[in-house]
Amino acid sequence: MTTQVQMSAEDKALAYPSPLKEFWQGFSYNKGAVMGLVFLAVVVVAALFAPWVAPYNPIDQYRDFMLTPPSWADGGTAKFLLGTDEIGRDMLSRLIYGARLSLLIGLSAVLSSLIPGIILGLLAAFYPKVLGPLIMRVMDVMMALPSLLLAIAIVAILGPSMLNTIIAISVVSLPGYVRLVRASAMTELNRDYVTAARVAGAGTLRLMFVTVLPNCMAPLIVHATMSFSSAILDAAALGFLGMGVQPPSAEWGAMLSSARDYIERAWWVVSWPGLTILLSVLAINLIGDGLRDALDPKLKRAA
C-alpha cells in the first residue's frame, strides 16, 4: 500500500508480490510478533465482548467473598477463577473490563496525538522559514519536561478522569510525532517525485497529504504502535499515582494502586493487574518490532 507510488516509477516487468502479502511475509517471519499479535487479539476479543466473556459484572460486590484467593490456591473457590479484590469484586471480570479501558485510552491517545502530530509536522516541514522553527521550539519546550511530570501537571489542572488521562497522554506524546513527521517529510521533499508533482501544479494541501504523507507512513505506523504501548503504561502510572481513571471503573493501573494496600496479605490482587499490563504492553511492542521489520528493514536502526 505504501510502496505503490514508488513502484509505478520502477520497472513493472519484475513481478512483485502483492504489497499485503509481502508485508505479511515480513511480519510473520518474526515469531515474537506473531505471538504478540495472537495475545493482543485475545485481549481485544475479550474487551469487545466483555459482557459475554466476563463471568460477573466488574462492579458487583460479593461481600461474603472479600479477598478470596484464586481458585487453585488454599481458600479459593471455583466461583472466582482469579480470586476477588478487597470488596469482593471478581478479579477476572475486572481485568477483562479493564482491558476495554486500557485499550480505549491507548487507542484514543494515539489517534488524538497522531492527527495533530501529522498536521503540525507537515506544516513545520513545508514552512521552514518561520512557522517550522516556531513549532519545533514549542515542541522542544514540551520535550524538555519529563513526560510523566507534564502528564501529572495536566491531570492536576483538568482533574482526574478517563478523558483527561487521554488528553494528558496525547499532549505528552505529541512532540514525538511532530518531530518524526517533520524529519521524514523533509527527506521526502527533496526527492524528485515531489518536485515533479510540484511542477505538475499540485497544490500545497495535495502535496502534503497525497504526495508526501503516504511515504512517511512506515515509520509513523511503527511509532504509533510503540506509543500505543507507552500510552497504556503511562495511563497505568497515572492510575497508580491516583490521578487516572476514577472508581469504580476497573483500570489496570488504578487496580494495582488500590491493591498495594493488600500486598502483604493477598498477592493476587497485586500480581494480576501488573502481569496483565506487562503482557499486553509486551505484546504490542513485539508487534511493533514485527511491523518495523516488515515495513522497512532500514528502520531496524531506530530504537
Binding site: I59, D60, Q61, R63, M66, E86, I87, G88, A156, G159, P160, G242, Q246, P247, P248, S258, R260, D261, Y262, I263, E264, R265
Partner: protein, 531 residues
C-alpha cells in the same frame, strides 16, 4: 596549644560517650516531612509530632495517652469566680535549649508566655511584622476573639482575661499550637535578621533538643538532659524520625528492625503485625469520627424521609470490614464513646433496604434520584480509604434506586468547594482537638459553622440552643445533660450518617517500653525507652 589538645580530647571523649550509649536510640518511621517547626503556624499532626511533642512544652498539657489536662510549664492556676480570668503560676528553673547560634542567659519566665500569645494575638507584634505568619488553629479555636489580654503579673505569674466564659479554654491551652516559645531567642533572631529561623531552628523547653533536619529523609533530636520533668522525661539519648511516606514500606522497615515505632499502619496490615512475634501493637479506640454528611440545602436531601432512607440502606458492618479491616467501631453519635457526655441510649436505625425503598416511595421518589457523593482523595485518620467507602455506599444506594455519582477533587479544592456547599452527600470526618464535647457537636453541626466545618449546612434551632448553652456553662453535670439531649436531636434529624470511629494502632518493636497512644493522634516519645 595544650588547651586546644584538651578541647580535642574532651570532644572525642564526648563523641565516644554519645556513641557508646547509641543503644539509647529510638527510630520512629514517621509518615511525612513536617512543613516546619513553629507549631503555631500549622494544623497537622505531622507538624506537631516533630515540634510541639518534642521540642516544646505548653502551660498545661494533656497527660500522655489521655485527654486529661495536667500541669506543664504552669504548676497551678486559679480561675476567677466569673470564669473570665485565668491566673497561671509558672514553674521555676526551667531551661531553654541551646544550639550553635543561641545560648539562653535566663530561665523560662512570664515574658516567654506573653511573647508567645502576643505574637498570635497582636498583628503589630514586632516579631510577627518581621516574619509574617497566620495562626489558623489559634483563630479556628476562637482565641483571638475571646482573649482580651495576656498580662505579666510578676516574673512567675501570668493572667489571661477573657471576653466570654469558655468551658474549654484550659484544654485549648494544652493544644499544640499554644507551645511556648522563648522571647529571648525571638529577640536574638530579630536582631540578627533571621526571624524565619524560628521555623527551622526551634528552641523550646521540651524533652528533646532539635539537632538536624533533612527534608524527606530524617529529623534528629537528642535528649534534653536538663528537662524539668524527671518522671516523664526523655529516656533515650537520640530520637530519630525516619521519614517514610509509604505505609507498607514503614511496615517493612519495622519488621527489618530499621525503626522501632511506625506511624499510621494500614488497617489491612494490622492483623499481620499482631501475628508477628517481633512486634507489639498498641491499640486504642480512636478519638475521631468518619461520617457521611447530607447537604440539607439541596433537594431532595432537605426531606427527612429521604435522609432516613439513605441512612438505613447503608451496610455499615460491611464498610467496617472492608474499609477499616475491622480496625474501627460503628459510630452512632457524632462523637466517640470515650468523649464525656456521650449518649449511650441513642441507637442507629436498623439496616433495612426494603423499608428504605418504601420510605423513598412515600417521600415521592419511587424511582429513586440522582445524587453526587463526594469522596476525599486522601487517607485521613478517621477514614483510611474514602474512595472505597464511596464505592460501597454507591452500591448500597443503587439497591434502593438512588444513583450516586462519585466526585472527588484535590484535597484543598475539595474542602473549599465543600465549604461552599457544592456537594449533595459528602464523606468527611473529624479528629478531636481538646476532649471537649463542644469540639464535636458545635464545630460539626452548629449554626456558626454552616459556612465552615458544618458540611451538612444544617442549622436547627433546638439543637443549636442546647450547644450554645453548653459552651457557656461551667458545670460539667449540667453540660452533660445538654449535650446528651443534643445527640438525640441529631439522630432524629439525621443531618449526617455517622460511619465509624477508627481504631488507632501503633506498632512498635517488642523492646520499646512505655509508649502510649495519644487519643489526639499525636506521637510523643518522652517517657519511652528502648531495652
Amino acid at each position: 596549644m595544650r588547651d586546644a589538645k584538651k578541647v580535642l580530647l574532651a570532644a572525642s571523649l564526648l563523641a565516644a560517650a554519645s556513641y557508646a550509649s547509641a543503644s539509647g536510640t529510638l527510630i520512629y518511621c514517621s509518615e511525612g516531612s513536617p512543613a516546619g517547626f513553629d507549631p503555631g503556624q500549622y494544623t497537622a499532626g505531622t507538624d506537631f509530632d516533630a515540634s510541639a511533642e518534642t521540642v516544646f512544652n505548653r502551660l498545661v498539657q494533656f497527660q500522655r495517652g489521655a485527654t486529661k489536662v495536667v500541669p506543664g510549664l504552669a504548676t497551678k492556676w486559679d480561675v476567677s469566680s466569673d470564669g473570665l480570668s485565668y491566673t497561671f503560676h509558672l514553674r521555676s528553673g526551667v531551661k531553654f535549649h541551646s544550639n550553635d547560634s543561641f545560648k539562653p542567659t535566663r530561665d523560662f519566665n512570664a515574658d516567654d508566655v506573653v511573647f508567645t500569645f502576643d505574637r498570635m494575638l497582636n498583628k503589630d507584634n514586632a516579631f510577627r511584622k518581621a516574619y509574617p505568619t497566620d495562626f489558623p488553629y489559634f483563630s479556628d479555636m476562637g482565641m483571638p476573639d475571646n482573649i482580651v489580654k495576656v498580662e505579666k503579673v510578676d516574673p512567675m505569674t501570668v493572667r489571661f482575661q477573657l471576653k466570654t466564659v469558655d468551658a474549654s479554654f484550659l484544654a485549648d491551652l494544652a493544644m499544640s499550637f499554644a507551645s511556648i516559645q522563648s522571647a529571648e531567642y525571638a529577640d536574638k533572631l530579630l536582631k540578627d535578621g533571621h526571624p524565619e529561623w524560628i521555623n527551622s531552628q526551634p528552641i523550646g523547653t521540651g524533652p528533646f533538643v532539635f539537632k538536624r533536619y533533612q527534608k524527606d529523609a530524617q529529623i534528629r533530636f537528642v535528649a534534653n538532659k536538663q528537662y524539668w520533668d524527671k518522671a516523664e522525661g526523655p529516656k533515650v539519648d537520640n530520637l530519630i524520625f525516619a521519614i517514610t511516606t509509604d505505609p507498607s514500606v514503614r511496615f517493612q522497615k519495622l519488621k527489618a528492625g530499621e525503626c522501632q515505632v511506625a506511624a499510621y499502619p494500614r488497617p489491612a496490615d494490622v492483623a499481620l503485625m499482631k501475628a508477628d512475634p517481633k512486634l507489639h501493637v498498641l491499640t486504642q479506640s480512636g478519638f475521631n469520627v468518619g461520617y457521611l454528611g447530607y447537604n440539607v440545602l439541596h433537594k431532595p436531601l432537605n426531606n427527612l424521609q429521604v435522609r432516613q432512607a439513605l441512612d438505613m440502606s447503608i451496610n455499615k458492618p460491611a464498610i467496617l470490614t472492608a474499609v477499616y479491616q475491622g480496625q474501627g467501631q460503628p459510630a452512632v453519635n457524632p462523637m466517640p464513646p470515650t468523649q464525656w457526655s456521650y449518649n449511650k441510649s441513642v441507637k442507629d436505625a436498623k439496616f433495612d433496604p426494603t423499608k428504605a425503598k418504601a420510605l423513598l416511595t412515600k417521600a415521592g421518589f419511587p424511582n429513586g434520584f440522582d445524587i453526587t457523593l463526594w469522596a476525599m482523595p486522601v487517607q485521613r485518620p478517621y477514614n483510611p480509604n474514602a474512595k472505597l467507602m464511596a464505592e460501597m455506599i454507591q452500591s448500597d444506594w443503587a439497591k434502593i434506586g438512588v444513583r450516586a455519582k462519585i466526585v472527588t477533587y484535590e484535597w484543598g479544592e475539595y474542602l473549599k468547594r465543600a465549604k461552599g456547599g457544592e456537594h449533595d452527600a459528602i464523606l468527611v470526618g473529624w479528629t478531636g482537638d481538646n476532649g471537649d464535647p463542644d469540639n464535636w457537636l458545635n464545630v460539626l453541626l452548629g449554626c456558626e459553622a454552616v459556612n465552615g466545618n458544618n458540611y451538612t449546612k444544617w442549622c436547627y434551632k433546638p439543637f443549636n440552643d442546647l450547644v450554645i448553652k453548653g459552651k457557656s456553662t461551667a458545670n460539667v453535670a449540667e453540660r452533660t445533660k445538654l449535650y446528651t439531649q443534643a445527640q438525640v436531636i441529631a439522630k432524629q434529624q439525621l443531618p449526617l450518617t455517622t460511619i465509624a470511629h477508627s481504631t488507632v494502632n501503633e506498632p512498635t518493636a517488642k523492646n520499646v517500653v512505655g509508649f502510649k497512644v495519644s487519643p489526639f493522634g499525636l506521637n510523643s516519645f518522652y517517657g519511652v525507652s528502648v531495652k
